[in-house]
Amino acid sequence: MLRILSTLLAIRTSSAINLFFYYLQKLPLVGKAIKSTVYARTDLKRSVSALVFAVLLLWSPVSKLLYLYVLVYLPVTAVNEMSPAHEPLQLFIHIFAIISFLVAGVSSANVLEPKREKYVAVRLMRMSPQLYMHAALSYRYIVFLVGYIPALLVFVLLLEGTVLQAVMLAVSVAAWRVLCEYIHLKLFEKTGIVLVKQLAAVWLVIGAGYIAAYLPLFLEKFPTVGPALMHWGVQLLIAALGAWAAVQLARYRHFREAVDVATKRDDPYLNVRGMVADAQKTSVQAKESDYSEEALRQEPVNNREGYAYLNEIFFTRHRSLVSRPFRKRLAIIAAAGIGGSIAMFVMGRIQPEFLQLELKMLFSFLPIALSFLTVGETTCKAMFYHCDISLTRYSFYRSAAYEHFLIRLRKMIGQNLWIAGALGGALTLATFAAGGNILQWDAVLLWLSIAAIAVFFTLHHLFLYYIFQPYSTDLNVKNPLYFVVAMAVSAACGFAVFFPIPPAVFTSVVIAIVIVYFAVAIAAVRNYAHKTFRVK
C-alpha cells in the first residue's frame, strides 16, 4: 500500500507542478519567460516536488482553519456580541456538527466521487481498485484528522473549551466521515444508488442543513446538538463506529464496481473544462423552432441590404435567445413594480411611519440594478456563437466592424430603453403608492438617469465585445483586460451604493460619463475594431 501511496503522491505533486507552470505561463510579462520545455525538466520538478508536497500537506490545516473561521467562528462571535442566546462553544459545535457531520457526510464520499486521479490510477495505470482505494482513503483520513486537530484547537480554546474537547471533536469528525464512506459504499452495493450524484437530494440536505446550522444564532429556543456531541459517551460511540467502518473498508472486496461507476469515460465531472464549455454553449443554444422551415416561411420580408439585412435575419432567427431575456426582464420589472406598489399602499395604511420612500433615495441603487437588468452579455455571446465566430474569419467582415457595431448598438439600445422605461415606471409607481411626491424635478432626473445608465451598459457590453473580443471558440473568456474593465465598472456600481450623492449631481455625472464613454467607444471601434474583432 505504501508503494501505491507514494505513486499517488507523485501523481499529485507532478500535476500540481504542471498546473503551477501552466498558470505561470499565462501571467503577463513573467509568462513569456517561461518556456514550454519547463514541463520536461524533471530535475527541476524533482527539486520542487518536496516543496509542493509540503504545500499540499499544509493546505489541509490551513483550509480547515479558514473554513472554521469564516463559516463557524465568525457567525458565532458576531451574533454573540449582539444577543447571547446560547453558549458560544455549544453554538460553534452545533454549526460545525451540522455542516461537517451531516451535510458533508451526505454530499461528499471519496469512495464514489469521480476524480481524475482515480481515472488515471485505475483505468490508465491499471492499479488494483482495492489497493488504490485503501491508499487513497487512508491518506485522506489521516491528513483529515491531523489537519483538524490544530484547527479545532485554535477555535475551541478561543471559545474557552479544553484541549481534550478539541481533540475528541477532531477524532469524532474523522471517525464519522469514515463511517459515512462505508454507508455510501453499502448503499451503492445494495441499491446501485450513488448518493453524491443525486443532486436534488444533496442540495436539499445542504439547504436544510445550513438553515438548521445557523437558526440557533437567531432563535433562542432552537435546540443545538452541541451538548450531545460534547458528551463523552457519544464521542466514544462515534469513534468506535468509525473504527469498525475502517476495518470493514479494509476488508471490503468489491471496490472494482465502485471505482468503475466513478470513472466512466464520459463522466462530465472528470472533464470539468469540457463541462463548463458545454454549459456555456448550452446557454446560447438556439431553439430548433427558430430555425424550422415553417419559421423561415413566416418571417417578414426583409428589404434591407448588407449588414442591416444580415442582422435583421440574425435577430429574427435568434428571437428565443435575444428577445426572451428581454421579455423576462420586462415581466419581472412589471410584476415587481405592481406587487411592490400594492405592498407599499397596504403597508402605508397600516404603519405609515415605516414608509418614507423618496425618489432621491433610489438614485444610488440605479447603476447596480441596471447592471443586472439590462440585456447585453447574453446577446453578445449569442452573436459571437451563432454569427461572428464564423464571419470574423473573413477580412471583409472584420473591416466593416464599425458598421455592424452601430447597427447592433441601435438594436440593443432600443431594447434596454424599454427596460429602462419599465424600471422608471415601476419605481415612480411604488414611490407614489408609498405616499412619496412624484410631481417634482427629482422624477425627471430619475428617468433621465435610468435612461442614461441603460445606454451606458448597452454601450459597455458591445464596446467590450468589439474591442476585447473575449470569447474563444469554447466561449471561455480569455482576455484578462476584459475582466479588468468589467470588474472596474462593477466596482464603480457598488461604490455608488455606499456613497450617495444629490440627484442633480448624480444625473449630471451619469450623463457626462455616458457622453465621454460614447465618444471614446465610437472612436475606438472605428479605429481599432477591424483589428481586435476576431476569434482568439
Partner: protein, 239 residues
C-alpha cells in the same frame, strides 16, 4: 501577376514554424503545398490571409508592373473545415455578400441564381439553411464567393479530401477554370491529387519552402521521391 513571399518568418513560443520562407507564385498555375502534419502549411496560409501576424518578412503582389503588399482583401481563403454563418440560407448569404461588395464597387456581372448555377447547386439547396449543408456544399459556397470577388490569390487548405468522387471531380474542373485569373495554392496530404491537379509543387519542411521540379511531378518516381524527401527530415511536431 505574381505573389512574392519574401523571408516570411513566424514562431510560436520556442518553435520556429516558418523560417525565411521565400517563393514566387504565378497566375495561371495551380500550386500544391505539401508538408507533413504540423509542418506549418496552415500557419503559412493564416499569415498570408492576415489571420496571423508575421514575425518577419512580407508578402507582395506584383501586377501590371506595380508591386504592393498583399492585403487581406487580395486573398480568398477556403478553410479545410468550411466556416460559414449557419443561420443563413445559401441564397441569403450570397445576397448579403453581393450587397456589401457592390457597395465597394466590385463589378457584379451575374445574378445570384446565375452564380449558383455556375456551382451546379440546385434550386432547393439554395434556399436551405447552411446549417444543413454537407461539407461539399459548404466548400462550394465558399468557392462561389471567389467567383464574385475574384481575389487575385486563392488559398485552399486541404480541399477535396472529404468529397465524394462526383463533387471532387466538379471541384477539380472548377479549379482548373479558375486558375486562369488567379494564383491558386492548395495544401494537401494526398500525393495523387497533387500530381493530378497541380502545375507546380512546393514542399514546406523545417519551416522552409522548396520547389519540386516539374519533370519530377510527371515522372513515375514522383511519389517515391517525395516520400524520401519528407522522410529525410525529422518529423515536425504539431503547431
Amino acid at each position: 501577376m505574381q505573389l512574392v513571399l519574401d523571408k516570411i518568418a513566424k514562431r510560436f513560443n520556442e518553435k520556429q514554424v516558418l523560417q525565411d520562407v521565400e517563393h514566387r507564385f504565378e497566375k495561371g498555375k495551380i500550386y500544391g503545398l505539401l508538408g507533413r502534419n504540423g509542418a506549418g502549411k496552415t500557419t503559412l496560409f493564416n499569415c498570408l490571409s492576415g489571420e496571423l501576424k508575421v514575425d518577419g518578412g512580407q508578402a507582395l503582389l506584383e501586377a501590371d508592373g506595380a508591386t504592393h503588399e498583399l492585403r487581406e482583401q487580395d486573398v480568398g481563403y477556403v478553410y479545410s473545415l468550411p466556416i460559414l454563418p449557419e443561420f443563413l440560407t445559401g441564397y441569403e448569404f450570397v445576397k448579403f455578400f453581393i450587397d456589401i461588395n457592390r457597395r465597394q464597387n466590385v463589378s457584379i456581372d451575374r445574378t445570384i441564381d446565375q452564380y449558383f448555377d455556375m456551382m451546379s447547386m440546385a434550386e432547393e439547396e439554395r434556399h436551405r439553411l447552411i446549417k444543413g449543408y454537407s461539407h461539399g456544399m459548404k466548400n462550394k459556397l465558399q468557392m462561389l464567393l471567389f467567383l464574385i470577388t475574384k481575389p487575385p490569390v486563392i488559398l485552399l487548405d486541404e480541399p477535396l479530401t472529404s468529397f465524394d468522387v462526383i463533387v471532387a471531380l466538379e471541384m477539380k474542373k472548377l479549379l482548373r477554370e479558375m486558375k486562369h485569373n488567379h494564383i491558386l495554392i492548395f495544401s494537401t496530404h494526398i500525393l495523387q491529387l497533387a500530381s493530378d491537379l497541380c502545375d507546380e509543387l512546393v514542399i514546406l519542411n523545417r519551416g522552409r519552402l522548396s520547389s519540386v521540379s516539374p519533370e519530377l511531378l510527371r515522372s513515375p518516381e514522383f511519389e517515391q521521391s517525395i516520400v524520401e524527401l519528407l522522410k529525410d527530415e525529422s518529423h515536425a511536431e504539431d503547431t
